[in-house]
């Protein structure tokens, strides 16, 4: 598919024994916003790391499956080749180079660019985030969480990626900042046609922002569909949105709940 990310039957092991992702397939079409939902430890971040080819620093290995982008097989490529192909990830917890200045961080995002492109990219990011321009000579580690997230996103956008991957951009941020961040993400998608794949714990927010969503549990994708449909799905409402049928609160001891959820994994 042209311009699409296609992940097919991917399996990832850590230390060759711990299976973190099993037989996962997903597609992010050109210009789409796709959400990846799931509890902690479901394998969402691992899947994103597999796409960006940054499993090896954590002893992770892609055992099986393929990752294709724009029709090109990227499965065994190095991280820098993935970035060159236009897939850039903002990692969980932002991971800025904290002892460096904001501008040094942004310049690193444009590591592979020619000098002129880099200058143009910096201007574009500063225009998008005036707050980042104000702080460009500040040490990145001393910025607030929201500012750091803007720098992290700006750093990813310097090289004009085609697919932006965001791993929990809302982590540790105040609700208003989270809304701002997602407004920016939606704007990038609408105005520049940037494809977006993001992981999010807040299901309500994720389903509102995305067009399509995948739900992961225990390393597998258990449910997927257009976000509007998922938001109306009774199971999703119960397990992720905290709404019980008929508006009454359900007891955690409810056996049916457990059984229904277990059925997903069968």
């Amino acid at each position: 598919m042209s311009g699409a990310l296609e992940v097919l039957n991917v399996q990832v092991f850590y230390n060759d024994v711990i299976e973190a992702v099993r037989d996962v397939s997903l597609t992010v079409g050109k210009g789409r916003i796709v959400a990846l939902l799931g509890a902690n430890g479901a394998g969402k971040s691992t899947l994103l790391k597999a796409i960006s080819a940054v499993l090896y620093p954590e002893e992770g290995r892609l055992i099986h499956g393929s990752i294709r982008y724009d029709g090109v097989d990227l499965t065994a490529r190095n991280a820098d080749e993935i970035v060159a192909a236009g897939i850039v990830q903002v990692p969980e917890g932002r991971r800025l180079f904290e002892t460096m200045t904001v501008e040094e961080n942004l310049r690193l995002g444009g590591y592979a660019l020619a000098a002129a492109e880099l200058g143009e990219g910096l201007e574009r990011v500063y225009a998008m985030f005036p707050r980042v321009r104000e702080k460009r000579h500040a040490v990145a580690g001393l910025l607030s969480g929201g500012e750091q997230q803007m720098v992290a996103i700006g750093r990813a956008l310097i090289g004009r990626p085609k697919l932006l991957i965001l791993d929990e951009p809302s982590l540790g941020l105040a609700p208003q900042i989270v809304r701002d961040i997602f407004d920016i993400v939606k704007r990038l998608n609408a105005e520049e046609g940037l494809s977006i794949l993001f992981v999010e714990q807040n299901a309500r927010l994720a389903l509102a922002v995305s067009e399509y969503a995948y739900i992961m549990e225990n390393g597998r994708i258990v449910l997927d569909g257009p976000s509007a449909d998922l938001a109306g799905n009774a199971d999703i409402q119960e397990f992720y949105l905290g709404q019980a049928k008929g508006g009454e609160r359900k007891s955690l001891r409810d056996l049916k709940h457990y059984k229904r959820r277990k059925r997903w994994l069968a």
Partner: protein, 290 residues
């Protein structure tokens, strides 16, 4: 007073030799997080090998220096490729022990190939005497000092301003994040070994010029290591400065207190300094937002 001034000058000269090795420690540590305990041995091996090539083509000093830089770079790349890269993913401790192993092998190889006789470099520079007030210096000593200052400044500028240098710092800080920037971290790690070994080659030439080539010259690694720790192992310029401090302290303690203190004075200083600043004088402190 003249005695004091001359001791300081001699400390400065030896400090510059330590400094060139210490910069090598810092460049590798800053990029890869590995302490290369073979730095002094690499210097010795690169010097002996370059000397052999230099003798073959009857090279003057400047050409010998150039040969040492090229041989050093190639040897550094070889070491990284053969011993370090296959260790990626192993514990830091295993990698450091590998460098200790490389060190011991190199110590053994040099006398096997080139014998145990010590031999000075013959250069016209050596016979020129310069007087600065009470201090007297030989031409070769000034040459080594000047090289040290130039290389320190270059290392500082490289890590501060060049794109590759900044990327090396980024890779040391957070490898995964650096990979996500599209930085080819493995290539940079190889490059850091090349740079460190090339600088060690320069150190070897300076050492042979000032003292002599000898199969025990690797021991200055033991002076350079406390120097690098003192200045901050992740700061090439700091390491260079630490080397000057260690060199002068070694020279003064030997001159005023007694022979034998030269070897331990550096370690005495780092014990004292690290109690106050555990990341060294110029090392990067972990940032914490409050």
């Amino acid at each position: 007073m003249d005695y004091f001034a001359n001791l300081v000058a001699s400390g400065l000269i030896f400090g510059s030799l330590y400094g060139l090795i210490a910069i090598g420690f810092a460049v590798i540590y800053k990029t890869t997080g590995v302490v290369n305990f073979a730095q002094g041995e690499v210097m010795m091996f690169v010097l002996y090998f370059s000397w052999m090539v230099g003798t073959f083509v009857a090279a003057p000093l400047w050409l010998l220096l150039l040969i040492a830089i090229v041989v050093g770079g190639a040897f550094g790349a070889l070491l990284e490729r053969v011993f370090i890269r296959p260790m990626i993913g192993q514990s830091q401790f295993s990698i450091i022990m590998t460098t200790v192993g490389v060190a011991i092998v190199l110590r053994g190889l040099v006398p096997i190939f080139w014998g145990v006789e010590s031999e000075p470099i013959d250069a016209p520079l050596k016979s020129q005497l310069y007087e600065f007030g009470p201090v007297m210096m030989l031409g070769d000593q000034i040459f080594a000092l000047a090289l040290f200052v130039a290389i320190s400044a270059a290392a500082w500028a490289f890590f501060r301003f060049s794109r590759v240098g900044v990327a090396m710092r980024a890779a040391a800080h957070d490898e995964t994040a650096a990979l996500l920037m599209g930085i080819n971290v493995r290539r940079l790690q190889g490059l850091s070994w090349m740079i460190a070994s090339a600088v060690s080659g320069v150190a070897g030439v300076c050492y042979a010029l000032i003292v002599a080539r000898a199969p025990d010259m690797w021991q200055i690694g033991f002076q350079a290591f406390p120097a690098a720790i003192l200045g901050g192992l992740d700061s090439p310029l700091g390491s260079a400065f630490g080397a000057v401090v260690v060199g002068i302290a070694a020279s003064l303690s030997e001159g005023y207190i007694g022979y034998g203190l030269k070897e331990i004075s550096g370690f005495v200083i780092i014990i004292a300094v690290l109690m106050v600043r555990p990341y060294g004088l110029f090392g990067e402190k972990e940032l914490e937002r409050v």
